[in-house]
C-alpha cells in the first residue's frame, strides 16, 4: 500500500515540477496581473490618469450610470448601453454568419478526395495564420469608399455615388466575419472529418429527407465542433479591438475600444478596470455555458 502511495506522490510531484516554469510565466504575465485590475476597479481615478488609493465604487457604478453634472443624481448611461448592445449584437451576428458560411465550407472540404482536401485545407489555413491586422486592412481595401466594391459598382453604372460602408456597424460586422471565418471552419472541419459518412446512407435508406438527415444525423454528431467553433468566434468578437478601430472609425466603438478610451483620453482607470472585469466575467460565463452544453451532448451520445 505504502509503495503505491509513494508512487502516487511521485506522480503528483513530477507533474507539478515539470509544469512549474510554464505556470510561473503565466502567473507573472497573464493570470496574476488580472488581480491588479480587480483591485484598481475599486479605487478612485487620479487627476491625470492612473488611480488614487481611495476606495470607491464609482468605477463599477460608472458602467451603467452617469452622475448628473449639476445635481449629482444618477442617470442611466445611454451611451454605454449602446456600446454594450452593439458589442453583443455584432458578436452574436458574427458567430451566426460565420456558422452559416463556415458549415457548408467545412463540409465541402471534408468531402473532397484526400489530395484535393489537403489543398482546400491549406487555402483555409493561410488566412488563419495571416496577421489579423493585414486581413482587416485587406477587407478595408474592398469596402472603403474608393475601394474595389464601390469602384466596380460605379463602373458598372449601378451606383452614382459610392456606398458608404466604412465607419458603420455593417463594416465592423463584415470585418469580423471575414477575420474570424477560419476559426469557425477549422473545428467544424475536424468534427465533420471524423463523421462516418455511412450514417448518411443509413439515414437515406430509412427514408429520411435531406433536411431530416442534416437536422437529425449530421448536426447532433458534429455538435462538439459547432460548440468549439462558436466559442472560438464569439469570445474574440466580444473583446475585439483592432477590427472596430480600423473599420468602425471613432464612433462605432465596441467594449474593447471603450476600455482603451478609459485608459487614454477618458482618464478613468477604475471605470476601465471595472469594464475589463465585466467583459472577463461575461466571457467566462459564456465559456461555462458552452462547456456544460458540450458535456451534456457528449454524455447523451456516450
Amino acid at each position: 500500500m505504502s509503495l503505491e502511495d509513494d508512487a502516487r506522490a511521485r506522480n503528483v510531484r513530477s507533474a507539478w515540477a515539470l509544469s512549474a516554469p510554464a505556470l510561473l510565466i503565466l502567473l507573472l504575465a497573464a493570470a496574476g496581473p488580472l488581480l491588479i485590475v480587480a483591485v484598481y476597479s475599486f479605487l478612485s481615478p487620479g487627476k491625470y490618469g492612473n488611480v488614487e488609493w481611495v476606495f470607491s465604487l464609482d468605477g463599477w457604478r460608472g458602467i451603467l450610470f452617469t452622475k448628473d453634472i449639476f445635481d449629482d443624481t444618477l442617470k442611466l448611461a445611454d451611451a454605454h448601453l449602446t456600446i454594450f448592445w452593439r458589442s453583443v449584437k455584432l458578436s452574436l451576428l458574427t458567430t451566426g454568419i460565420t456558422f452559416l458560411v463556415g458549415f457548408p465550407t467545412a463540409w465541402f472540404i471534408a468531402t473532397r478526395p484526400p489530395r484535393a482536401r489537403a489543398f482546400w485545407l491549406f487555402l483555409i489555413t493561410i488566412p488563419f495564420w495571416t496577421n489579423l491586422l493585414i486581413r482587416t486592412f485587406a477587407i478595408n481595401e474592398v469596402i472603403r469608399n474608393e475601394g474595389l466594391f464601390n469602384t466596380v459598382m460605379i463602373k458598372l453604372g449601378l451606383f452614382d455615388t459610392p456606398l458608404r460602408i466604412i465607419n458603420t456597424d455593417a463594416a465592423v460586422l463584415m470585418g469580423m466575419t471575414y477575420v474570424y471565418l477560419p476559426l469557425m471552419v477549422l473545428p467544424l472541419f475536424a468534427a465533420i472529418d471524423r463523421f462516418d459518412m455511412r450514417l448518411l446512407e443509413a439515414g437515406y435508406d430509412l427514408y429520411a429527407s435531406r433536411w431530416q438527415v442534416l437536422r437529425r444525423v449530421i448536426l447532433p454528431i458534429v455538435k462538439p465542433g459547432i460548440i468549439a467553433g462558436s466559442i472560438l468566434v464569439f469570445v474574440p468578437s466580444l473583446g475585439a479591438y483592432v477590427t472596430p478601430r480600423v473599420l468602425g472609425g471613432g464612433k462605432n466603438m465596441m467594449i474593447g475600444n471603450f476600455i482603451e478610451l478609459q485608459f487614454g483620453q477618458g482618464r478613468n482607470w477604475p471605470l476601465g478596470a471595472a469594464l475589463s472585469m465585466t467583459l472577463l466575467i461575461v466571457v467566462m460565463a459564456a465559456l461555462l455555458i458552452y462547456v456544460r452544453a458540450a458535456n451534456k451532448g457528449g454524455n447523451g451520445h456516450g
Binding site: L18, I25, A30, A118, I124, N131, E146, A273, S276
Partner: protein, 267 residues
Amino acid sequence: MADASFQPSRIPGFATVAVLAFVCLYLPIFTLVAYAFNAGTSIAVWEGVSLHWFARAWENEAVKSATLRSLLIATTASAVSTAVATLAALGTTRRAAYHGQTFIYVLINQPLMVPEIVTAVALMIFFGVIKQWTGYQGLGYLILAHTAFCIPFAYLPIRARLEGMDLSLETAASDLYASNWQTFRHVTLPLLAPGILAGAMLAFVISLDDVVITEFVKSGGQDTLPTYMLGQMRRAITPEVNAISTGLLGLTVILLTAFFLLTRKKG
C-alpha cells in the same frame, strides 16, 4: 437508391457557398497585394505597376527597426514558450489523475480564454508599476508578455502529439535498461519532435501577429511591425502599408508551405 450517381455526402448548395466563401477570403488579400505594386501615391487610384513602395518600405528606418524588433521578440518568445510548454505537456499527459490537474490545465489555457484587451490592460498596469519601481524600460516586458500568451499555442500541438504516442516503445527502452534520460532523449524526444516543431511555429506566428497586447505594453520607440502599421493606418494610408503587408504575407505563406511539406514527409 436507384440512382447510381447519388452521393449521400453531397448536399445541394453547399459547394456553391464554399466556393463563394473562398473567393471572399482571397479577393481582399489579392486586392491588398495588387495595390502594393501601384505606381501612384494613393491607395485609391491605379497608376501602373511599380516596385516603388517596396523600395520605400525597405529604406524606411522605422520599418526596418520594427521588423527586427518583431523578429527578436517572436524568436525569443517562441523558443522559451515552446521549451516550457514541452515540459508542461510531459508533466500533464500520460499519467494517472493527480491533485491540481484541472488547475494546471486551466492556467495553461488561460490566455486562450481571457479577452486580449483585458490582458493588455492588466499588463499595462502591472508592468507600469514595475517600470516605475525598477526604472527598467527595455524589451523584456514585451518578451515576457509574448512568451506567456504563446504558451498555450505551443502546448496544444505538443500535448496532442504526446497523447497519440504509443507508450510501448518507451516501455521497451526501459526494459532494455535505458535510463529515464536515455529513454527521453532517444525515444520520446524524436517521436515528439513534429509536435514541438508545430508548437514552435504556431507560437512564432502568434507572437509576430500580436497587436493589442504589444500596443498596450510597449514603451516609447518600441514599435513592432503590427503596431507600426496600426499607427500608419491612423494617418493617410499610402501603398507602403500594402507593401509591408505583402512582405509579411509572403513570409507567412513560405513558413506555412515549408511546414506542410515538412510534416507530410514525416507522415
